[in-house]
């Protein structure tokens, strides 16, 4: 596999009194599609700029294939960047923008032509070589920026929110193309985004960042299903979060006394003490909503609560319900529209409903103090 391993060890960076990164360490594998995900101001872009060489960290080291790159200027690192606002050279044609890195090295004209055409072909811009950047759409500009960043054959491609300026449909399309390009050339991609759905759909692994710290590193599945902290649980997708106390354990099944709600069962393979305070998260799509009481056939691993629909929201492919289970507890429930299984009528505003979920669909968040 091509690409490089990147080692980030104990990186700290402050801008004045603002700590952008606190002792961040990450190991990024060869050829991995690695995402840095977090809200704005979490330090993800600063970390990317430190890897690229635009910023120097106050402490720590960055290695590419084991070699410390901090003393090297950006033009001497085998990492190239795709910028958020494309950063195309406005005075050069598409062809010359992509050829720019080769021209700097005084590459022979025939080689330049062949190589630039190859890379324009890779990003499906073969027909636009002669155009100026000002004549291109946002998506096309982004492709030029990608081709230009790849032509030096870097071992790492750094992408700084490359899709944030595009509209939703194009964004999804470009994301799939980025994924295809990654599969084709196989180098390491480090992708900075604040959009959790982007990160979940293409990454091999994701680092979730918040206020200069890495909260969790894991596969999209790990991060979605087993969030390490309350913040991760709430930032990735939508969820319902509760605080509660462990009342009893039966093997891997725990009985919790959830504040303002009552008895909830949850399975977890980790050990919790009776009396311990924990956070519980349940994803809205794992909840079942029905007007009638669900038939649980005596199973003890199903949680059932009754409540009132505060707000039904129709959003095309699914409906979202805010269900009030107690004066202070409101559940978010997603319901897919798959009529053939639903013998019931549509659920209406102010209707009494039952919300139920299986113990294995709940998850105890460990770092709940965060």
């Amino acid at each position: 596999m091509k690409g490089a391993t990147i080692g980030i060890l104990g990186i700290s960076k402050a801008f004045g009194s603002f700590a952008a990164l606190n002792d961040v360490s990450l190991d990024i594998r060869k050829g991995e599609f690695f995402s840095l995900l977090g809200p704005s101001g979490c330090g993800k872009t600063t970390l990317l700029r430190i890897i690229a060489g635009f910023e120097q960290p106050d402490e720590g080291s960055v290695t590419i294939d084991g070699i410390n790159v901090l003393p090297l200027p950006p033009n001497r690192r085998h990492a190239n960047t795709v910028f958020q606002n494309y950063a195309l050279f406005p005075h050069l044609s598409v062809f010359e923008n992509v050829a720019f890195p080769l021209r700097l090295k005084n590459t022979k004209n025939s080689i330049v032509t062949a190589k630039v055409n190859d890379y324009l072909h890779l990003v499906e811009l073969g027909d636009h070589a002669a155009k100026m950047p000002s004549m291109l759409s946002g998506g096309q500009k982004q492709r030029v920026a990608i081709a230009r960043a790849l032509i030096n054959e870097p071992s790492v491609l750094l992408l700084d929110e490359p899709l944030s300026a595009l509209d939703a449909k194009l964004r999804h399309h470009m994301l799939m193309e980025l994924d295809a390009i990654h599969d084709k050339i196989g180098i390491t991609f480090i992708y900075v985004t604040h959009d959790q759905s982007e990160a979940l759909s293409v990454s091999d692994r994701i680092a979730v960042m918040y206020q200069g710290d890495v909260l969790q590193v894991g596969t999209p599945h790990d991060i979605y299903e087993s969030p390490a902290t309350n913040f991760v649980a709430q930032f990735i997708g939508e969820t319902n979060m509760f605080e509660g106390t462990v009342r009893a354990s039966m093997g891997q099944m725990y009985v919790l006394d959830v504040d303002e709600l009552g008895r909830v069962v949850v399975t977890d393979d980790r050990i919790y003490e009776v009396g311990e305070r924990v956070s519980l998260t349940v994803r809205p799509e794992k909840l079942r909503i029905s007007p009638d009481e669900p038939r649980v056939n005596g199973r003890s691993d199903i949680n059932v609560f009754e409540g009132t629909v505060d707000e039904p929201i129709y959003s095309g492919f699914q409906s979202k319900y805010y269900v009030r289970l107690s004066p202070t507890v409101v559940f978010r429930v997603f319901k897919q529209h798959s009529d053939y299984t639903d013998e019931e009528h549509d659920i209406l505003w102010k209707e009494r409903v039952h919300v139920s979920w299986s113990a294995k669909d709940g998850y105890i968040v460990e770092g709940h103090r965060n």
Binding site: A52, G53, F54, P73, P74, N75, N80, T81, F83, Q84, N85, A87, L88, F89, P90, H91, L92, F100, P101, R103, L104, K105, M132, P133, S134, R148, A149, N152
Partner: protein
């Protein structure tokens, strides 16, 4: 048929065109007048003939003006461009003060600039605690002092025009150039200078015009040298402008129009190509 309505924008457009161009047309028409008096009597090329055969001092002044305009504009353009690039992309102490102070020459009356430059070139000095402190250079007034004065007052115009152009671009372009392998020097030559070019050209052309037409400042620092505006003023002072000046002006108007069209096409080309 609908009666034509009074259009304010059309009327004011026509009025401003008339005020702008009628004097120029009158001047060109009178350059072909057979009579010296401001009365049209017939067509003649006599003033053009006299301009090219027997107006030595006028031509000398003209060439002095052109030489100074070109050299001072090039000097102002080089220094102003580099200053704008430096101030735009580099952080340094007192940056905000430097930016504020560059506007001063634009709003300062020319007569003040002229007087201060004259004081500077006369090698002004004062005594402080028994020690003589020089605050200027003793230079003989003439070609060199006019050149320095013109380069000086053109500089802020170039600086501001280049800066305005640079403000349109995000610094990520510079980072992208470095990222793609360019050294500082390559970034300057292959990215920063080319994208600043419209600003540099406008600054240079503005400098040319300002230098060619300047009278007040030049008057203070010229010594025995004479530029074209001074020569014209000198003639007026001695008893009326000769129609030879009209002929020269007509030629210069033509030259200016050609230059302006070239500049316009160049800027359009730049705009179309990014």
């Amino acid at each position: 048929m609908q009666k034509k309505r009074f259009s304010f924008s059309k009327t004011s457009f026509i009025a401003s065109m008339v005020f702008l161009f009628v004097p120029l047309v009158v001047l060109i028409v009178f350059s072909f007048n057979a009579n010296k008096a401001p009365v049209l009597t017939g067509f003649s090329l006599v003033w053009y003939q006299r301009l090219f055969t027997s107006s030595r001092s006028l031509w000398n002044a003209f060439f002095t003006s052109i030489t100074i305009a070109v050299t001072a504009s090039i000097t102002a353009t080089v220094i102003g461009t580099l200053a704008a690039i430096g101030v735009h992309w580099h952080k340094f102490a007192l940056k905000t003060y430097v930016q504020a102070i560059t506007y001063i020459p634009l709003v300062l009356p020319e007569i003040i600039i002229g007087m201060s430059l004259l004081a500077f070139f006369s090698g002004s000095h004062f005594t402080l605690g028994g020690v003589s402190v020089n605050v200027g250079f003793r230079l003989n007034l003439g070609w060199l002092t006019i050149f320095i004065a013109h380069a000086t007052f053109c500089l802020p115009f170039v600086y501001l025009m280049v800066l305005a152009r640079l403000d349109e671009f995000d610094s990520s372009i510079i980072e992208a150039a470095h990222d793609l392998g360019a050294t500082e020097g390559q970034t300057l030559l292959k990215v920063i200078i080319p994208i600043s070019m419209p600003g540099i050209i406008s600054g240079f052309l503005t400098s040319l015009t300002l230098s060619l037409e300047d009278f007040t400042i030049t008057y203070f620092v010229s010594g025995v040298s004479s530029t074209l505006p001074m020569a014209v003023y000198g003639q007026m002072y001695k008893g009326g402008v000769s129609p030879v000046i009209n002929a020269l002006s007509a030629i210069m108007i033509l030259g200016t129009i050609v230059l302006a069209l070239l500049a316009r096409n160049f800027l359009k080309y730049i705009a179309a190509n990014g």
